[in-house]
């Protein structure tokens, strides 16, 4: 009767990310990691005391931050990456349903319809991209202090500090969710996920 019951869904694998996309993620994650770690060494007194070498840590932080958008820009050469960006950008009616359920903390599968990316992933992607650009802009103002009116530096520092704190919290959430879902991690690591996982987590994908 049911085709799905006959076919061993768990045995099938589905391609989720191309090699280029995984490298974009990997390099972005590495650069973001360097930014976060060096920022911590500049900002948290105990770590600053442990590491010292302020001029060196500042230089590493600046260059890692400058390089942070490069993997995504390079990824634009990949058709698969551009296609996924398009999916991340577009919000359908099901995304509204997903967000409502998330706000109500409704975890039932039926309440969380999602395509290749769920609404939460879409919002995260757009926000972290915007936040990274704000960090880049304010960072450049702090770096090249003589290019902008000098009042801007204090203001840029203010935004840079508070947004850094926010990004830290949001990134921790991103990593925490990945830790809780081994199959999602496998998708980012190997490029493939099980058909069963895809059907369960992203029912509208591949329709």
């Amino acid at each position: 009767m049911s085709l799905r019951a006959d076919a061993p869904a768990a045995a099938t694998t589905v391609r989720r990310f191309s090699r280029a996309e995984r490298w974009v993620h990997r390099t972005t994650a590495a650069l973001m990691g360097v930014c976060v770690l060096t920022a911590a060494c500049l900002y948290i007194p105990e770590l600053a005391e442990l590491v010292g070498r302020r001029a060196l840590v500042v230089t590493v932080h600046e260059w890692a931050g400058l390089a942070l958008p490069v993997p995504v820009l390079a990824g634009l050469a990949s058709r698969a990456f551009r296609g996924d960006l398009r999916l991340l950008n577009r919000f359908g009616p099901h995304d509204r349903v997903w967000l409502r359920a998330a706000l109500r903390r409704d975890k039932r599968r039926a309440a969380r319809p999602a395509g290749k990316f769920n609404a939460g992933q879409k919002i995260y992607a757009a926000w972290i991209a915007g936040a990274t650009l704000v960090m880049l802009g304010t960072g450049l103002i702090m770096w090249f202090t003589h290019l902008t009116p000098l009042v801007w530096r204090t203001s840029a520092t203010f935004v840079h500090d508070w947004l850094a704190l926010t990004i830290g919290i949001v990134l921790a959430g991103h990593i925490g969710m990945a830790l809780a879902d081994p199959e999602a991690r496998r998708g980012m690591r190997t490029g493939s996920v099980s058909g069963e996982w895809a059907e369960r987590e992203h029912p509208l994908w591949r329709r």
Binding site: P93, V134, T138, T157, F158, V159
Partner: protein, 241 residues
Amino acid sequence: MNTGQPEQEGRPIGRRVLLGTLGLGALGVVAAPTLQRGLESFLGSAADKDPTGLTGLLPNGGGFRYYSVASSVPHKNATTYRLTVDGLVDRPRTYMLADLRALPQTRMVRDVQCVTGWRVPDTPFEGVRLSRLLDAAGVRPSAGAVRFTCFDGTYSESLTLDQARRADVLVALRMQDEDLSHAHGGPVRLYVAPMYFYKSAKWLSGITVTEDVRPGYWEERGYDIDAWVGRSNGRDDEPTS
């Protein structure tokens, strides 16, 4: 919802979220002076009642921040610490901690202003006036400046002789009415009350009288040499002394 390709259609909300984040960031920069003042007063009062000290980790949470340019800084105490005064002087001398403690002490309470923006109000410093050490050494007429070196092995600072002789420049032994801790540059640091705090070199170990000012560590990296609070480094903070 299941017809066709629901994913390809829909509104470009992602782009709007991205642009909105950028807009908020720009707005944040414009509104920063107002927001910062409000937050500083709020967090400042919250920090007074905060037993965990977590507010100190927030931006503008008040309190000092630890900056060191060296990889590690040796610890010095009353037996290992030495301060040498040399250069263009008639009587070069090496002081031990006890020697400095035996000299008349001056206590001053001023705000501390860092060039990166943080300010700690009403911080007591106590120590020997630098002018006293210079007078004791007998500065030669050809001298025009004083160079400071530190036992972290890296940091250096400098003042003109006129700046160094000001009454609000101390070789500080105590801060916040306690002996200077290692993290704050103890056992002895420079304290230049009217200037940005990078002039107040931590872990002071050498005072050398020279002919001309030699730029210090951060000054070779772009900071102003005459670092008057509110009148240098492009900042307009309230003067501290």
